[in-house]
């Protein structure tokens, strides 16, 4: 199973095993990773699962769809490597993925 490391805004790292086919958001929620709210449960409706993707993985996490892009446009502290983690599907290629959570999702 691919491993994902979540880093909170203070630099604390948590590495968990992820299931292929589930999202980076779901993996976080099921492992109680702090810093990801994901209120809508993955419907791309709430923009509360914002993460910063390690730049080494940017070309492996897939393209942003239009909905995600326009949702992220309203998130706080958006960067080049910002993504909504509900829109990143875990695959073997993402083994070792590192994402950082923002200080706030609101």
């Amino acid at each position: 199973m691919p491993k994902i490391t979540y880093i909170d805004h203070e630099g604390n790292e948590r590495t968990v095993e992820a299931k292929t086919g589930e999202s980076v958001m779901e993996t976080a929620i099921k492992n109680s990773i702090p810093g990801i709210d994901a209120d809508c449960g993955g419907a791309c409706a709430c923009a509360t699962c914002h993460v910063y993707v390690d730049t080494a993985f940017m070309d492996k996490v897939g393209e942003q769809q239009e909905m995600e892009k326009s949702m992220l446009d309203f998130a706080e502290n958006v960067q080049e490597n910002s993504r909504l983690s509900c829109q990143i599907t875990v695959s073997d290629a993402l083994d070792g993925l590192r994402v950082t959570t923002p200080e706030s999702q609101h």
Binding site: S32, C46, D73
Partner: protein
């Protein structure tokens, strides 16, 4: 009441609010016992996908669970599932369960949710007539969702229309019966109703508004037709009833808690008993951005009230109350709703409904109170901020699609 010395917390109900409250209590450092009593057999799960992706069979049941079974063990949460709470003894701080068990509590959170409003007509008990509320309902419905079968949906609310969209995508013949003169009449404006009616018709569904349904006919115990008041028979292999929900308030009411449509709570989700909280569909709460109380049926409301209750129990500052929001997925249309539109005196359409990307703003005295945004996240997200700020807005500004929503929100913030 200071509950910071509470060591035993009991939750009744196992839906969104209960799952959030448990999470917030443990993340907030609560180390005492947590017991959840739920009347369904499954681990606490998300309901919204039941009428959307999950209904289509796009993923496994375990993906609906908020947390895997191991999480409850690791976090020392006792789950008592498939079990109903039968009464509260507030003086003795006990919850009585069916089969005779009794739980003691220092703080109690009622997350009893709601149940489908029953349809009191002849034939409602026939096989093939279903509600759509629980995992068990979907397990019964899904094997019958076969291309070519005739599905009749009673009620054109969000649940009915979402199910209609799924069924059309799967190739069923779909007829939706609605008593009101338009779909979504209880929740949105005629502009939105017209848009969704047109969309469903374009996708091949039959939408009959202003229609009085009378009863079901059966054959060998299974539904065979829906019969209208004028005698018209609509052949049916499968029926879904979605005519709204009723809050589960009985336990609270019998225990003498104040009821106001739902279980009445204050801003901390506390009921008229200082040791008892209520969250989610069952609770009526102050709607702080609207200066009144009300009962909301939404994920956001369940999450927020659960967080408020957990914070109050733990003696932490009250979390900020967001503007109410909702969503609905039908076909490839994502509808995002912010605010509550009741009492609007002005309506502004931004964008073109025919382009399937537009928003309807609702204003009252020049202030934005709600938006319905179809495939338009900027309109939704900017409106959340605008609604909470209470800023005055000129309708012409909202209508002008050449000005981005971000700029409109920024201008209103500095005005």
């Amino acid at each position: 009441m200071d509950l910071s010395s509470a060591s035993r917390i009991v939750l009744i109900g196992g839906g969104q609010a209960a799952a959030q409250a448990i999470q917030s209590l443990r993340m907030g450092g609560f180390e005492g016992s947590i017991t959840l009593v739920g009347d369904e057999p499954a681990l606490p799960y998300q309901r919204p996908p039941l009428s959307k992706a999950y209904m289509k069979g796009e993923f496994a049941e375990e993906r609906l669970y908020f947390k895997p079974a191991a999480w409850y063990e690791d976090n020392k949460v006792d789950l008592i599932l498939s079990t109903r709470a039968t009464s509260l003894d507030r003086a003795a701080r006990k919850v009585h369960l069916e089969h005779g068990a009794v739980l003691d509590y220092d703080a109690l959170i009622l997350c009893t949710g709601s149940r489908p409003r029953p349809l009191p007509v002849k034939g409602a008990d026939l096989q093939g007539v279903h509600d759509l509320r629980t995992l068990a309902d979907v397990e019964r419905i899904r094997p019958q969702m076969v291309a070519g079968r005739r599905l009749v949906i009673i009620g054109a609310g969000y649940i009915g229309l979402e199910a209609a969209a799924v069924a059309r995508t799967m190739g069923l013949e779909v007829t939706v019966l609605e008593m009101a003169d338009r779909v979504l009449a209880r929740v949105t404006s005629p502009v939105m109703s017209e848009f969704y009616e047109k969309e469903h018709r374009a996708q091949g569904a039959t939408i009959l508004t202003g229609t009085r349904f009378d009863h079901f006919e059966g054959k060998d115990g299974h539904v065979s037709a829906a019969v209208l008041a004028d005698g018209t028979k609509l052949p049916a292999d499968l029926v879904l009833v979605g005519i709204g929900i009723l809050p589960n308030i009985e336990l609270a009411k019998e225990a003498g808690l104040t009821i106001d449509n739902g279980i009445a709570t204050d801003r901390d989700a506390r009921t008229s008993d200082p040791r008892i909280f209520a969250a989610g569909d069952c609770a009526s709460r102050p709607l702080v951005h609207y200066g009144r109380s009300g009962r909301l049926e939404s994920v956001h409301n369940a999450i927020e009230q659960a967080k408020l209750a957990a914070a109050a129990i733990l003696g932490k500052p009250r979390p900020a109350e967001d503007c109410p929001w909702f969503w609905s997925d039908q076909f490839d249309l994502k509808l995002q709703i912010a605010g509550l539109n009741q009492g609007y005196d002005e309506l502004v359409v931004r964008g073109d409904p025919d382009a399937r990307k537009f928003a309807v703003f609702y204003l009252r005295n020049g202030t934005l109170i709600a938006v319905d945004a179809v495939n338009s996240p900027p309109e939704f997200l900017a409106s959340k901020k605008l609604i909470m700020s209470g800023a005055k807005l000129a309708p012409g500004v909202l209508k002008d699609t050449s000005t981005p929503m971000k700029d409109i929100a920024a201008a209103a913030a500095t005005a």
